[in-house]
Assembly symmetry: C2
Homo-oligomer: 212 residues x 2
């Protein structure tokens, strides 16, 4: 390990969703390092039936953003409103409100991120099921951690999947291939910092669900 290389546990604990990004371009070699980290992840049978679209096309990003915004208005905002008094574990009401502000900001400027990485998976003739993600989200997490380690901000987003068919068509995905995540990547506004999470002990069980 080079002395500059950041430590795993520190990176894991400070890989926050970075929803405010600068428009500055991101060098290709950093994107390559992120992709290499992604492709080191496990996948079912090591089959690696994934594909990664590096999207910088402004028109295309804008077309996708229209669906992203529509899904926000229809589903995400009402969900936040309904949860205002019951923020997630480890978050205060104020933090949850700030999260909504930033989610709203990201929604409006989704297409302005200098680069997107779109993580796709070919599930072949079988329709994707709830376990298929085991062959793509580990790669996504590796990419989020790698971006963080390289000083780049990113966010795991799946909301476009509400209009998955329309968006997959825009990205030219063939039959059997589905987009599982869009990661807007760029230099972050603001600092990396500790993630806000609940105490894992409260959701850790001994042998069977509910046993502490």
């Amino acid at each position: 390990m080079s002395p500059q290389e950041p430590g795993l546990f520190e990176i894991i604990q400070t890989t926050r969703a970075m929803r405010q990004l600068k428009p500055d371009p991101v060098p290709d070699d950093l994107i390559d390092r992120i992709l290499e980290a992604g492709a080191a992840a496990p996948s079912g049978g090591n089959n690696q039936t994934w594909g990664f679209i590096v999207c910088r096309d402004e028109d295309l990003k804008k077309q996708v953003q229209v669906f992203y915004k529509r899904a926000f208005d229809e589903y995400v905002l009402p969900h936040y409103e309904s949860r205002k008094e019951a923020p997630p574990p480890g978050m205060s009401k104020a933090q949850f409100e700030r999260q909504l502000d930033r989610v709203s900001h990201l929604t409006d400027r989704f297409h302005e991120a200098p680069v997107w990485i779109v993580a796709c998976l070919d599930t072949g003739k079988r329709p994707p099921n709830y376990l298929s993600g085991a062959s793509i989200y580990p790669a996504v997490q590796n990419m989020l951690l790698a971006a963080r380690a390289l000083g780049l901000g990113a966010t795991l987003t799946t909301r476009h999947g509400i209009y998955g068919k329309e968006v997959d068509t825009l990205f030219g995905l063939p039959d059997g291939v589905h987009s599982y995540a869009i990661l807007p990547v760029g230099y972050p506004v603001g600092r990396f910092g500790p993630v806000a999470r609940g105490d894992v002990k409260s959701v850790t069980y001994r042998d069977r669900w509910g046993q502490h």
Copy 2:
């Protein structure tokens, strides 16, 4: 970062599926560190509707292994046989054969891993869909990386999901909660080493699928 803490990129590139495990017990504090890494992962809306079962119960593990073995005989072995001449990207036929040997070994001794971490997700009233995994597999990947960093071997397995209903009942999961992965964890037989993967450039596209 402490000088002993391993670097992110090195860890990512050497987190192989470690399918041969020693029976030696794994200290609780190492499992706790793995779980803390898991719970730092992103989840939809930061809702963290996950739960982690730390299973050491030998009878229970054996009962689950019966389904794991059945699924091997019915689905996994035929799949490997059909793929013998076409190994995954980055693997030789010999490597793929060794993988089958180790998968077969893991199947027979699945319950002998000293500890399992079972990653579960509560999807509430909505049935889980192909995107739900975005709220649990990032946590799973964090746990695999953390285990590796702590010198512990683990493997991401989802095969039990072929008999998901039966297995979820064994773990006492309530309605709406599903197990997404079982990670057998223990001290590994053999060394950590570079993962065998294809060249990510061949599956990286510019703006739209298929464009290089």
